[in-house]
């Protein structure tokens, strides 16, 4: 069991039978009174946020969450299929569960799948992924229009801003936390 003094930003707790992550945390304690732990919590399955104020004597359970190493296999319609690296069991998550991760996912990519009570609820990608540029306007050398970046499309269909020297067919590294271009990958 956890107590109120364990609460902090990023902690995942079980509340009303569902997993919640604390996204904002404020400690307050009016003069000689009870401590109050004001939390903003996000439901880890449906994404809804809620606010709750806890007190010193409140007790909590950690959300029963487990991460497993898996490989992304393929997508079919709105279903994204994965295989457990240890057991070779297969399962799928929906497009809603995958969210913006879809921008960076290519077949055979290693990911971590998050389970709540044996149900897959979310995935975590590697922080950096290398993707091939499939569409880019050519770099007009001597272009003096003053723009530092140009939009390109990568193999997943994701469009992002990159330096003008990036050309079609090249690989670039993208930070999956921000979706930003990091560097050109030489092979």
């Amino acid at each position: 069991m956890l107590s109120a003094s364990d609460l902090r930003k990023g902690l995942k707790i079980l509340m009303d039978g569902a997993p919640y992550i604390i996204t904002k945390f404020d400690f307050s304690k009016p003069g000689k009174g009870q401590s109050l732990y004001k939390c903003r919590l996000q439901h880890m399955i449906n994404g809804n946020s809620t606010e709750r104020t806890f007190r010193s004597n409140d007790k909590f359970e950690k959300a029963p969450l487990e991460e497993r190493a898996m490989q992304y296999l393929y997508s079919q319609g709105d279903e994204f299929h994965f295989m457990d690296n240890n057991t070779y069991e297969q399962l799928f998550l929906t497009r809603d569960q995958i969210g913006e991760n879809v921008n960076y996912m290519v077949d055979n990519m290693d990911v971590a799948v998050l389970f709540f009570n044996e149900t897959p609820i979310d995935i975590t990608l590697p922080i950096f992924v290398n993707l091939t540029v499939t569409k880019a306007d050519p770099w007009a050398k001597g272009d003096t229009s003053g723009t530092d970046t140009k939009p390109v499309t990568v193999e997943t269909g994701y469009i992002l801003q990159v330096p003008p020297f990036i050309e079609e067919g090249e690989k670039i590294q993208i930070d999956t936390r921000t979706g930003d271009y990091m560097t050109r990958v030489k092979e």
């Binding site: 400690f27 304690k29 401590s35 109050l36």
Partner: protein, 300 residues
């Protein structure tokens, strides 16, 4: 780590605090940080230090010195309160406490206002505190508001209703405090009797205690009161608090017997504890208590 500017500001404030009290014939003392006995506090958990505790406040030692015949005392020291950590809380923090015999909480509010204004005047004269006097005016008297009136003005329920529903702290924090000390500092005073462990009750209105707190920019800075000097009533309150500690699942420390004995000789007095780090925060405009201390817990 604390910035060079903030460190200079902190030093200037503490120096001005000492000047203020020395000019008023207060003696600066220091009492032990490790104590075998503390005042039982329902919502303050002490840190254990061997067979002793680290002090949560120097209150009992300072009052024993009053009982021994000293009349004006101040102390700048560290206090320790387990698990208190936030934008305004450190588990180890600097406290300024002062006690004076022959005055009550109204006189002490006036002296506290004098202190804050004299610090502003002193700090504003140098280049270290740009714009300070624009933020806290020296011309305007501090606001004085009873707890009852503050709930009436800002809360959706009365103090009595909040206490009955065991929601006093929530209502205070969420509805009342965001309005306190805004524009000018506020003294919140006349606290419900159950919320005072060591304060005297009002003679003509025994449902409230002669206790006050100072707020600047919504931040609670100080807690002061007319001291309870009746050892019998003090023992009853300690017993009640020790039972509440037990009910909360903690083990209360021993009864402060030597303090209760000394209380028989203590003259009428008023005393106040002021969070020195928070005072530095409001005078420097810092956003968090971490910005005004030498090393914050995250940096250790």
């Amino acid at each position: 780590m604390i910035s060079s500017q903030r460190l200079k500001q902190r030093v200037a404030i503490i120096r001005a605090v000492r000047v203020f009290f020395e000019e008023r014939d207060y003696l600066e003392i220091d009492t032990p940080l490790r104590l075998p006995v503390l005042a039982p506090e329902v919502w303050i958990e002490p840190e254990i230090s061997g067979d002793y505790f680290l002090q949560t406040s120097p209150e009992l030692c300072m009052k024993r010195l009053l009982a021994a015949g000293h009349s004006r005392l101040f102390q700048i020291c560290h206090c320790f309160r387990k698990g208190e950590r936030g934008k305004l809380h450190l588990p180890e923090f600097a406290m300024l406490e002062w006690y004076r015999i022959g005055i009550d909480y109204q006189d002490l509010m006036a002296e506290c206002e004098d202190l804050v204004k004299s610090l502003i005047l002193e700090c504003d004269s140098g280049p270290l505190f740009p714009g300070l006097a624009d933020r806290i005016s020296l011309e305007v008297p501090f606001e004085r508001l009873t707890v009852g009136a503050a709930f009436g003005r800002y809360a959706k329920c009365s103090v009595a209703e909040a206490l009955a529903a065991d929601r006093y702290e929530e209502v205070l924090v969420e509805q009342v405090e965001p309005n306190l000390g805004v524009g000018r500092p506020t003294f919140l005073y006349d606290y419900p009797a159950p919320l005072a462990s060591l304060a005297r009750l009002k003679k003509d209105e025994p449902t409230v205690a002669e206790r006050f707190e100072l707020y600047i920019d919504t931040i609670e800075l100080a807690n002061g009161f007319s001291e309870l000097i009746d050892p019998v009533e003090q023992r009853q309150r300690f017993e009640k608090d020790r039972n509440l500690i037990l009910a909360a699942g903690r083990q209360p420390g021993p009864m402060p017997e030597k303090f209760l004995t000394a209380l028989q000789d203590m003259p009428e007095a008023a005393g106040i504890a002021l969070g020195l780090d928070r005072l530095v925060m409001v005078l420097t405009g810092a956003e968090s208590i971490d910005e005004v201390v030498g090393c914050s817990p995250n940096e250790l």
